[in-house]
């Protein structure tokens, strides 16, 4: 399983900017709200989070200390 960026469907206004910036086709609009599909291609570039005008997408990073 590949973890993908998470989407707050309540916030998404369907503008489609995230889809256009993403290089991996992980995002699509269904009924004017973005949905995300799992894909190994997503490099967690965080561009979808960056362009979203409504803060609907988040690409969180785990912060860990290497032992």
């Amino acid at each position: 399983m590949v973890e993908m960026p998470s989407i707050d469907r309540e916030r998404c206004n369907g503008c489609g900017l995230c889809i256009r910036v993403c290089y991996c086709k992980a995002l699509t609009l269904v009924d004017n709200v973005v949905i995300i599909v799992e894909t190994e291609e997503c490099g967690w570039c965080t561009q979808c989070e960056a362009v979203c005008p409504t803060n609907a997408i988040s690409c969180p990073f785990e912060i860990v200390i290497e032992e």
Partner: protein, 223 residues
């Protein structure tokens, strides 16, 4: 596609103008489309055209002598860019590239000057548009110079760090920016700087602290 008066109305520069005047201004404006990744302005080239964004997102950025990029802003529909360079007359002060496919409306320097001269409402609008730019620039200056962003981010990483198998706190760039009191655009660059210092390794979805002491040093925390 031809330039549409309807779309001009929502641009700050042309707000409040009657349709017949917009119709005349329209003839001075040209449309330009750019593909994702395409540059529409080059820093240092003569500043000839002011652009308005009709659709898409444009990244305005500067490149340093050693090739590093610093994003200044993301500009979205109805916003303008290259205004200051065009009005001052000189060179483009930054690069601009299409982050997604974009459609722009452009107006040449001479035509813009004529419009400002002939339509007092446009002159007032330009003052408003430029004041908004100044506000944005002031906060950018704060972000760039008053605060040492990599140090702040280093501190955040230390405060939030978990261990490899137990607690794994997660933060987005957006959240790190909010905590650091800076713009989201600054975070990616700050993390790269920290990685170059050898304190962390950036992975998909993970920031691994590989040298805690180096990170503490960057954060200005006593070890």
């Amino acid at each position: 596609m031809a330039v549409q008066v309807e779309l001009l109305k929502s641009i700050t520069y042309f707000s409040g103008l009657p349709l017949n005047e917009l119709g005349r201004i329209k003839d001075l404006i040209f449309e330009k489309a750019a593909d994702k990744g395409e540059l529409v302005l080059f820093e240092g080239k003569p500043a000839e055209v002011l652009y308005f964004i009709v659709s898409g997102v444009v990244k305005v950025f500067k490149t340093s002598a050693d090739g590093k990029e610093q994003t200044l802003y993301f500009m979205r529909p109805d916003e303008s860019f290259n205004d200051v360079s065009v009005l001052v007359g000189g060179q483009n002060m930054a690069n601009a590239g299409a982050l997604v496919p974009v459609v722009l409306y452009g107006i040449r320097k001479d035509d813009l000057e004529a419009v400002i001269r002939d339509y007092p409402q446009v002159a007032r609008n330009v003052i408003l548009a430029l004041s908004q730019k100044v506000e944005r620039l002031v906060s950018l200056v704060e972000n760039l110079s008053f605060r040492h962003v990599p140090g702040r981010v280093a501190k955040i990483l230390l405060e939030y760090a978990g261990d490899m198998d137990g607690r794994k706190p997660r933060l987005t760039h957006q959240e790190m920016a909010a905590i650091a009191g800076t713009a989201r655009e600054m975070i990616g660059r700050a993390l790269k700087v920290i990685e170059e210092e050898g304190a962390v390794r950036l992975e998909r979805q993970r920031i691994v602290i590989t040298d805690k002491e180096a990170l503490q040093e960057m954060a200005g925390v006593a070890t």
